[in-house]
Symmetry: C2
Subunit: 184 residues, 2 copies
DNA sequence: GTAACTATACCAACCGGACGGTATAGTTAC
DNA sequence: GTAACTATACCGTCCGGTTGGTATAGTTAC
């Protein structure tokens, strides 16, 4: 191997950015190549098809997810709080990847949808391990999902209405565990 | 004047179905026309452009949203519970419309994104009127959003994991109001 | 009352552009 | 000399939109 495949990484990153910022429809092969500063031929040298590109995104995402799950497992603040907090983070590499995968899933890429299901299942398991009760775990997952949906949506409604309230929200999350007792 | 424009309604319904079931990319003019049992030309007679079709969906959605907000305002079980419950309903006309608008928003249709922001703001206001505390209202909105995100996602993970747990969840929602006191 | 005309509600065929993908010939860095 | 590209040209397909036409029902003029 002579030179390291610099283009491969750049193309993947550009494609993810396009998916996040412009949507799946705008994320064409040529647009990805241009944004990556690579020729279309160069892109297709590394990713033989658009499907292969999507697979590349998913593969790269899986690595980030695995790291996140490890951190979540060992988080001092608990899995639930960690999960909600990271769901609200916009600028991490993991979130960029997950938004991209979400876009792919909604565009009909089956493996992307499957991956999201799998990730959700793994998140749920860790939260369930912490909080014990399935209904509470359900609640926590939904809150994270809700935050996530806002991030994945174009527009700034979330920013202007919930900004700064995140800290307050995170303080409420550990209290959710008490709900079950309260309910009985 | 003469015949009623039967095609118009059928086309709108077909386009919404396509957006929900197959995604924005598959929701082409020809696909919508075919599903509506109309020629492409016939479709374009009623909706001069794809943009006009989207506008038709949004307009139709606005009517359903208005009805829902009225019902939410007068719901005996309270705005929060009503909101979460209806967020989990898959088969209503309103949800079909909202999923369609969401798909449009993520495909870059600005007016669709604007509408969703507006609807969220109105939902939040009603919930805030009920629960008083902004952080709790925040929480409720996010739970509904989370449910909604699952519905809008292809795949059946939600069905197999959360099915039947909705009742339990809905019982927890009114308890959320107590969180604030608990926290102090 | 009927012929001429208008408006509505479509359909079928086509056009231009974009996009995914192929092919090929040449270039650069190690 | 080989992996990692660039550059360009091209093909088939699909998609949004245009055009030209048809059928039907109501409206007007006489």
């Amino acid at each position: 191997m002579a030179r390291p495949p610099a283009a491969r990484t750049k193309v993947l990153d550009a494609y993810i950015s396009l998916l996040c910022e412009e949507g799946e429809r705008a994320a064409t092969l040529e647009a990805a190549a241009t944004r990556a500063g690579v020729s279309k031929g160069g892109l297709l040298y590394h990713f033989a098809s658009k499907e292969a590109l999507a697979a590349g995104v998913i593969e790269s995402t899986e690595e980030h997810v695995q790291l996140d799950l490890d951190r979540m497992h060992e988080a001092a603040e608990g899995a639930s709080v960690y999960y909600v907090q990271t769901s609200a983070e916009v600028d991490t590499e993991l979130d960029r990847h997950l938004v991209a995968v979400q876009r792919l899933a909604q565009a009909g890429v089956g493996s992307a949808a499957a991956m999201l299901e799998d990730v959700h299942a793994r998140w749920l398991q860790l939260i369930l391990d912490e909080v014990g009760d399935p209904a509470i775990a359900h609640l926590v997952i939904l809150i994270g999902e809700g935050l996530y949906a806002h991030l994945a949506m174009p527009g700034s409604w979330y920013q202007s209405n919930f900004e700064g309230r995140l800290k307050e929200l995170l303080e409420l999350v550990p209290q959710l565990k008490k709900l079950k007792e309260l309910n009985e």
